[in-house]
Assembly symmetry: C2
Homo-oligomer: 180 residues x 2
DNA sequence: CTTACCATGTAAGGCGTTACATGATTCA
DNA sequence: TGAATCATGTAACGCCTTACATGGTAAG
C-alpha cells in the first residue's frame, strides 16, 4: 500500500473534483497545476489505464460528443486511496531552477550574461503573474458548496506571493550585480 | 555540442571554483546548492569519469592525504564547455511541491489535515532559513578577488526572500483555511 | 573499540519526457 | 481547405535515485 506514485495521486485528485478525459487532465496540469506540478501525455495516459486496472477509476466512452472521448471517473476505492495519500507526510518539495544554477556560476561569464538570465527570468514571471491574479479574483467571487475553491485559493496565493517576491529579487539581483 | 547534461554542467561549475573530490562535490550539493539543485552519488561519480573521458576534467590521486582521494580538476576545454553552456538560454525552471499538490486536493480530507501539511512546511522552512541568513552575513563580510561570492550571494538572496515569503504565506494560508 | 564520517563506486530499476503515429472536428 | 485544436496512445530512450558493496580514518 506504500509507494504511491505521484502521477496516480494527481490524476485521482483531479478526478475527485469531476469526471475528466485524459486530454482534459493534461489541460488542468498546464493551467491550474503548472505552478507547482507538471506531467506529459506519455505519463498520463498509461497511468489512467493503470488506475482502471487497479479499480481506482472507471473508463467509459462519451456517447454525447462527436469526438472519441474516454471519460474517467474515480471509484470509491480510488477515493479511499487518494484520502490515504493525503494523510501521509510530504516526501519531497523540490525546486530546480536552472536560472539560479547559471547565476551561481555566473562569474565565469560575467555581469552582462548574468543580467540576461535575470531579465529572461523576470520576463517569464511577469508574463505568468496575470493569470494567477485573475484566478484569485475569480475564486474570491465564486465560493462553492464543497470547499474546492478554498483549497485552490491556497495554492494561487502561494503562486502570487512567490512570484511577486521573485520580481523583487530581480531588482535586488540587478543591484548586487552592478555594484562592487 | 548541444544536449548539455545538467549534471556535467553543475560539476564543471563547481570545479571552475576549485579542485574537488566526488565526495566534496556531493557536499557542496547538499549545502550550498541544495536550495535550487540536487544530485546523488549515483549520478556524480559516473559523470566525473565521463568528464575525464571527454577531456573536460582531469583526475589525480591525492598523495598528501592518507585517504584514497581522487581529485578532479577542470581543463581548459572544460572551462570552454562551461562558458558555452552559461550563454545558452534557460531551458527549464521547475518547482515541484508535493505540499501544494496535497493542499490543492485538501477538501477531500479537510482543514485539520491541510493544517498539518502547512505546519510541517513551515517548520521545515524555519529550520532551513538560519543557514541562508548566516551564509549572507559571511558573504557580505568576505568579498573575494574573483566575483564568486557576489554570484553566490545572488542565489542566497533568492533563498532568503522566497523562504521569508513562504513563512508569510503559511500565516495567510492558515487564515484562509479557518475562515469561511 | 566503536561510532561517525570520509571516500568511491555499481546495478537495478523507476519514472518520466520526447518524439512519433494517427485521426476527427471546428473555425476562419 | 487548411490550420488549430481536440483526442488517444506507444516506443525509445534518458536520466536519476535507491540500495548495495566496500573499506579507510578520526575522534571520543
Amino acid at each position: 500500500m506504500a509507494n504511491e506514485k505521484k502521477i496516480d495521486c494527481v490524476i485521482l485528485g483531479l478526478l475527485s473534483h469531476e469526471e475528466l478525459t485524459g486530454y482534459e487532465i493534461k489541460k488542468r496540469m498546464d493551467t491550474t497545476l503548472k505552478y507547482f506540478w507538471s506531467a506529459s501525455y506519455g505519463s498520463i495516459y498509461p497511468a489512467l489505464n493503470d488506475l482502471v486496472d487497479r479499480g481506482l477509476a472507471t473508463k467509459r466512452e462519451d456517447t454525447e460528443s462527436k469526438r472519441n472521448k474516454l471519460i474517467y471517473t474515480i471509484t470509491e476505492n480510488g477515493r479511499i486511496y487518494l484520502k490515504k495519500w493525503l494523510t501521509l507526510p510530504i516526501e519531497k518539495d523540490e525546486l530546480r531552477y536552472e536560472t539560479l544554477l547559471k547565476l551561481f556560476f555566473g562569474n565565469e561569464k560575467g555581469e552582462e550574461q548574468a543580467m540576461i538570465h535575470i531579465e529572461a527570468f523576470e520576463k517569464r514571471i511577469k508574463s505568468e503573474l496575470p493569470a494567477l491574479l485573475s484566478a484569485k479574483t475569480i475564486l474570491n467571487n465564486s465560493p462553492n458548496e464543497d470547499d474546492t475553491h478554498k483549497y485552490y485559493l491556497l495554492t494561487v496565493e502561494f503562486g502570487i506571493k512567490t512570484y511577486q517576491t521573485y520580481l523583487e529579487w530581480c531588482q535586488e539581483a540587478k543591484k548586487i550585480l552592478t555594484r562592487g
